[in-house]
């Protein structure tokens, strides 16, 4: 039962790589956006807020199709990137990372935004009077104090990215070794007559990864909170 086959390993490692890349690329963007939403008022803020949350409520297949239209080889952005930079998303693992990054973005941004909102602005003012320009206030006060939320957002985003299915399979299909993640591998296996055992193995693997992610986030959050409250 627990002999994981090379194809399954490929799917597991690909999922981990896709989710890790998606999370690492999305995190700086997520922090910047969370800060804007938490600390700045600007024209169109509610539209930006809605756009960030859109992947959460749209049918994943719609997001995937929109990605295909935009980032496909003949899409507006996809064509431009392919012609000028040689970056191709369609039917590549990078496309899976893009799909996962977008689908998990709302879950990544939300805890970061909440934790930035929770940082006492009076501490930021105090830092300003001590000579810190706004960007150093952010790096030395706001970000360290919001760290538990950043880690929580990253773990949540990673877990979501690992499990993403609808948008990924719509955008980059289900190609073993290139775009077949754990989810799409399970999907294929349960449609094959004798795939049940293999599917079950991958189910166990995804449960283990999800549990590990949750435990890790809890551990990070506890450590960070302890550090922050001056004890």
């Amino acid at each position: 039962m627990f002999d994981i086959s090379p194809t399954e390993w490929t799917a597991i490692l690909l999922s981990l790589r896709v989710a890790a890349v998606a999370t690492l690329v999305a995190t700086p963007l997520g922090i910047a956006l969370a800060w804007l939403l938490a600390r700045r008022d600007f024209w169109g803020k509610s539209v930006v807020d809605a756009l960030v949350h859109l992947p959460l409520v749209l049918p994943p297949v719609v997001t995937g199709y929109l990605l295909l239209l935009t980032f496909g080889r003949r899409g507006l952005v996809g064509g431009f990137l392919a012609d000028h930079f040689g970056i191709v998303f369609a039917f590549r693992w990078t496309g899976a990372a893009l799909a996962c990054g977008i689908m998990s973005f709302p879950l990544l941004v939300r805890p970061i935004r909440l934790s930035i909102e929770a940082v006492d602005r009076r501490l930021e003012q105090a830092a300003g009077t001590l000579g810190a320009p706004p960007w150093r206030v952010f790096l030395t006060i706001t970000l360290p104090l919001a760290l538990p939320g950043v880690l929580a957002g990253m773990v949540l985003g990673f877990a979501k990215a690992i499990g993403e299915f609808g948008a990924t399979i719509t955008f980059v299909s289900n190609i073993p070794g290139e775009t077949q993640t754990i989810s799409s591998a399970i999907y294929s296996l349960i449609q094959t007559p004798d795939g049940d055992t293999a599917a079950l193995r991958l189910v166990v693997v995804s449960i283990v990864i999800a549990m590990a992610a949750l435990v890790a986030s809890e551990w990070f959050a506890r450590r960070a909170t302890k550090r922050l409250h001056g004890n």
Partner: protein, 228 residues
């Protein structure tokens, strides 16, 4: 010399204040709601005035007519808040060193020693703010502001959140600060006893206006201290 000539609409009332003070310690005296904190926030640059001029020794920090508003981090004005506002994720040593790092000043062991001695905080350096008493926290906040080497130090009711015993504990440090630190100060309080001990010049405020200006003799007698 600190020159302030500003108006600011605060909704319920407007601050309309004009004074120029040469004193080592300029006291802003008045009941709560007199506009003292708003005025101090304007001097610090945290609150832009609607109209007017703020200048230190001829260096203009705010001039609405010319569109000048120097942001807080470029004013070199220290600020000790009523709640100490120490950074909870940094230990005391890092809190004290924060202003020097942000202003990119060279390390100055002599100044460090002088300030930590003056405030008796040398023994607290490795602790976290969460482990300090209210009085200790306020002393560290004073030290943190001083070590940024400000040209003016604003103290907004620094004893306000402390009980009587703690006030008696901190007051002598403030007197030493006035006499030894060589930084002009603006001291905000509604307590005429504190004012009498610390201030060299007093600006008395009521509902956003200056109602008296002069030496400590303009203060009401101690019996009426909290009437403002």
């Amino acid at each position: 010399m600190l020159r302030v000539d500003v108006t600011k609409n605060l909704g319920e009332f407007a601050v309309e204040v004009s004074f120029a003070s040469e004193g080592r310690v300029t006291g802003l005296f008045g009941a709560s709601g007199a506009g003292k904190t708003s005025l101090v926030n304007m001097i610090a640059g945290l609150l832009p005035p609607d109209r007017g001029v703020i200048a230190i020794d001829g260096d203009v920090l705010d001039d609405t007519a010319d569109g000048v508003h120097i942001p807080p981090h470029r004013r070199r004005i220290g600020y000790v808040f009523q709640d100490a506002r120490l950074f909870p994720h940094l230990d005391i040593r890092q809190n004290l060193d924060y202003g020097r790092r942000m202003n990119r000043l060279a390390e100055d062991p002599a100044l460090w020693a002088r300030v930590t001695d003056l405030l008796d905080i040398g023994g607290l350096l490795d602790r976290r703010p969460g482990k300090l008493s209210g009085g200790e926290r306020q002393r560290v906040a004073l030290g943190r502001a001083l070590l940024a080497q400000p040209r003016l130090l604003l103290l907004d009711e620094p004893l306000g959140s402390l009980d009587e015993d703690r006030k008696v504990e901190i007051l002598p440090y403030l007197v030493r600060l006035r006499d030894e630190a060589n930084v002009p100060m603006v001291y905000v309080s509604h307590d005429s006893g504190e004012m009498r001990q610390l201030a060299t010049q007093v600006v008395m405020l009521r509902r956003g206006r200056v109602i008296a200006f002069g030496g400590v003799e303009v203060l009401p007698l101690a019996a009426a201290s909290s009437a403002g």
